[in-house]
Amino acid sequence: MKKLFFMASLLCISAMAFAQNAVNSSMFSIMEARALGPGTMSGRVSAITGVANDNGKTLYLGTAGGGVWKSTNAGTSYKSIFDKYCQSIGAIAIDQKNPTTLYVGTGESNMRNSVSIGNGMYKSTDGGENWKKIGLDSTEHISNIIVHPSNSDIIYVAVPGALWSDSEHRGLYKSDDGGATWKKILYKDAKTGCADLLMDPSNPNILFASMWQFRRQPYSFNSGGEGSGLFKSMDGGATWKEISNGLPPKPFGRIAMTLAPSNPKKMIAIVENKATGLYISEDGGDSWKSQSATMNVCARPFYFSTIVVDPKDEKRVYRPAFEFAYSDDGGYSFSNASSDGGWVHSDMHALWINPTNTNLMYLGTDGGVYMSIDRGVTWMFQHSLPVGQFYHVAADNKDPYNVYGGLQDNGSWMAPSSTPGGVGNANWSRLYGGDGFWTVPDADGKTAYAEYQGGNMARIELATMKGESIQPKKTLKEDKLRWNWNTPIVIGKKNPKNLYVGAQYVYKSTDQGRNWNRISPDLTTNDKKKQEQEDSGGLSADNTSAENHCTVFTIAESPLDENLVWVGTDDGNLQYTLDGGKKWTNVSMNVTACGIARQAWVSSIQPSQFDKNTLYVTFENHMYGDHKTYLGKSTDLGKTWIRLDSKEFNSFAHKIVEDTENKNLLFLGTEMGLFCTLDGGANWFRMKNNIPEYALVRDIQIHPTTHDLIVATHGRGIYILDDIRPISQMNQETISKDVSIFPTPDIILNNGRFGWGGPEVSGGWGTGNAPTTPSIQYYLKERVSSGKATIDILDDKGNLIQSMPATIRKGINKVDWNLRGTPPRVAAGSTKMDGAGFTAPMVLPGTYTIKLKIKDKEYLSTVRCIHDNGNKDLSLIDRKLVYDKAMALQAMYIRLANTIDTIASLQAKLKADTVAFKKSTSSKVIYDDLEKVRAALMATKQTSMFADEEKIREKISELYGTFCSMEAKPNATQLQAIASLEAELKAQEVILDKVRKRCSAAMVY
């Protein structure tokens, strides 16, 4: 037994040792991605609520795929507060008795084809700073949470439940202990969930629940069934009775309902049935009357489930739906909001009315949040929410490159990856409308391709944004073309002149879509049962191409051979051609042999850049209720497969990419997070790097020249992790050392690439630019807890140029050297701050030593600083001239500081002899004469930045600053100014010499 235990411990220790040596995300935590957002088009907002008693200052937003956002200033700015958890939000509730307590239900319940999935309930007791998971993990979608107004322990949670499968986790839940335990208090069957819940504020024991039977399949949607119905409880959910008096005959679909807080007997419901209509009750739901309503009020019940009555005025009713409608007569008639404040994004899901000032309200749409201060008549867009839902991202080869991408319900856009002042809302340009998906630049630099849902694609001229439709059409020999909601448009990786698109067939063009060749037969299973989209929707027909099926979903040309093309479909087929499309081979049965579901969507294909026979493929099967992460690798052109898996994975996979330099470095994008492996897929870690840990990662690109990792998220916009070479170059040798300094690439000597451009005027979301000067990078096995860490820069003669603090984090560290020496000392005793003390001339080209000192050990490296040949305004000779002049000014500045010190010391000496100083007029006169020189040398009177005082020091300082930042040949006046200042300084020095002599004489006495 002892032996057994010993062996077990050994096993345990070796496992631990391996784990400690493994690469993990914390090693790279210094590398923070830039969140490009933008807030320009924003994204779907699913929940809005606010604290009732703080004048509406504190707001919480829940988004479709961007987590939870908090504002403490009524929406002027927002902060993301849920970055470590599931990003799909269904509902948020505040305990208004203790408003720092809040609940978040994950899993949005606007049940469209692209909706994400949640993983339960979360609670915070400190206003969203810290969160605790409190159960209901398997509910997948949560539509509403209500906290009892007077008993904070009682919480109700409405759970529609799984969208793509049967589930017993649906229904209405209640907790009597603040979320510690839950019991299900209303349940119909595994197909019917609880879509909504109302509580009578005058009697919290009265509850109304709407039950909804619904189901999606990859190729159809069904809203409605015998399970749907409206229920009422009088005893806090212990018992329920169905209410139907006055409602239409069943079956029902989804019911949107509300009651008037000022008169809870007054209720309104929109009941989906064969003829969906509006119903009004005046007796607390016991009886209902049908009321005619427009299409906008009643359309698409599965997607528009919000209706709200003003908290104070029972006549004022709001219906956010396809458009925003309001009623002033209790729901009998509705008007649409005005567009005077600008277009309001259609498709609305959330509305919060400030209960103390009901003129003020916040509206959540498919395109962000709007605020109204006139009861919903006009709306203002809030620009600071970067929650766009990208499907794909692409980049061109310009310098700096542009990113391109299409978003759910928000068209196709592009923006520079860096630009003067940083990338802000105003830098984004729209290419195309509708729902956006693949948006890809052509290699000609002037053209891009974009689309809207169902394969409606165009060639866009980027100079004008004019679009020409290029969608291939069927011939008589072909079946009706089936275009996926998210139709692939792909440029060849080997030959960028090849443009591919896919319906059930693959089409190829070599002339920018002007002519097409169909290069494949139907590559799908062509299962006719999965092609009945015209009957989709259930009680309300809904055929928007979102359910189109048996289509090509992904296309990839090998980076090594343009005739090798891989194609994946949404119904599980994976096929390739080796001859540009003459013959196709289906390898999907080989894939299933490694445990990947047969009918899973082929979500991405990465043919290797290092070996023609190798490829990585992601599959996703969530539309069959299976959330497993499917990633397959084949090294024999698809004949055999291994499944790459990890305990870190917890959701379905959208995208796999291989690094351009290190074949063992892969990135995997999933519905819940971005993952990385450095050993070809054996071990994976979750990427953090300023990207939400559970981000919905839909697409990833690695830029071939900048090595940037570009990530498209479905709810947090675009992220760019600049230059991932530190990850790609990480190896076991580095990891095993305590300290390892990486080679610094050559540094081009300039003040960065872009000017500032002035303050951002358009507001909203923005991010900085990619760094243009390489950092000094090193690896530390452990954080330095005790002892100093510094970096010294020395020139080739060993002179110290600058000493800087070094960072001490575990893993990779980055320190930026400003390419300058040490600033001069500033003379004491001025009344004005002087900037010269913060600057020094940029170093001259040469090789510099980097001396990293960690505790008592030194680690050396070198860096080559080279002249910027790209700058035609500054030759190498000019650079030397500028440097020499700056150093001359620095010497002058130091000389002046020394002179001032001399004066101060003389003055102190004169004053020290207090007796003499009081008696002797000459001492005082000398003192004052010294003061005159001091006052001529530097500002001694200025007390405000608005009353400038400029003396010799300030003039030298200004000119010194100009030369230090100069990136052009100096002009003659600038050079002449140095001589003038030298003369001015000299003149004062002559005066001082004379005073000094008198001073020495005076001191004798």
Partner: protein
């Protein structure tokens, strides 16, 4: 053999889950106090003078802080040839910050003096928090710059929260985030600490601290040396030295 591996795995799993489960908060605090030199040594602290420099790309800002335990504190700052100071005592406070255009020392408001009183206690907050009616909560583990940390919040009587991140291997505080409200605004201050060093009286203290404004290094520190009361008068340091 199979059995053996299974058992090994089980033990491994048990060990793993043990190592990640929340440690008892009191134990963490105890370890922290031991790491920083122990409560007895800290309680010997009566006065402290620290000289500090802040470096930003080669330029330097100098700071001298004089503290008398629970009585008074004075910070002198020198930036680009200008000098200013701030004083807080148990009764009053003064501020002279010419960098922002102030022309003479101005007294602090009674409210400011009152709210600054807990700054006069130099002893580590995890030793004294109970004396001030503060409470601590364990918020789980978190990652700070790649280092595994215990996250602990400290809430004062007014409900203001400071969150500390203690390195799970050394028990030193490596990061501190405080949330404050003032004039209708909410703001957050983050500080980082490193280069812990044993000083006189056996207390262990971070010689480097970082914040939004840059990194501050303690270059010289003297403990329990007498500090003249005159130091806490609103006069320039140069005048006081005479």
């Amino acid at each position: 053999m199979k059995k053996l591996i299974a058992l090994g795995m089980m033990l491994f799993i048990a060990f793993q889950s043990m190592s990640v489960s929340a440690q008892d908060l009191n134990e963490i605090i105890k370890n922290h106090i031991t790491a920083i030199g122990g409560a007895d040594n800290w309680n010997k602290l009566k006065s402290m003078t620290s000289e500090m420099t802040m470096k930003a790309q080669g330029a330097e800002i100098k700071l001298v802080v004089n503290q008398v335990q629970k009585k008074a504190m004075r910070a002198d700052i020198e930036v680009m040839g200008m000098s200013g100071y701030q004083i807080i005592t148990d009764k009053e406070g003064w501020s002279f910050m010419p960098f922002a255009g102030q022309t003479k020392a101005e007294p602090s408001t009674a409210d400011d003096v009152k709210s600054s009183q807990d700054q006069l206690d130099m002893i580590d907050q995890f030793i004294t928090y109970k004396d001030y009616g503060k409470k601590i909560d364990y918020l789980g583990k978190d990652d700070v710059e790649g280092t595994d940390c215990h996250k602990i919040s400290l809430t004062d009587k007014e409900g203001e929260i400071t969150t500390f991140f203690l390195d799970a291997s050394t028990y030193y505080v490596i990061k501190e985030v405080s949330k404050r409200k003032a004039n209708g605004k909410e703001f957050e201050m983050t500080k980082t600490y490193s280069n812990y060093k044993k000083l006189d009286e056996g207390i262990v203290f971070p010689m480097l601290s970082g914040g939004d404004e840059g990194e501050m290094e303690i270059t010289k520190v003297s403990i329990n040396k007498p500090i003249d009361d005159a130091m806490f008068q609103p006069k320039a340091l140069s005048e006081l030295k005479k």
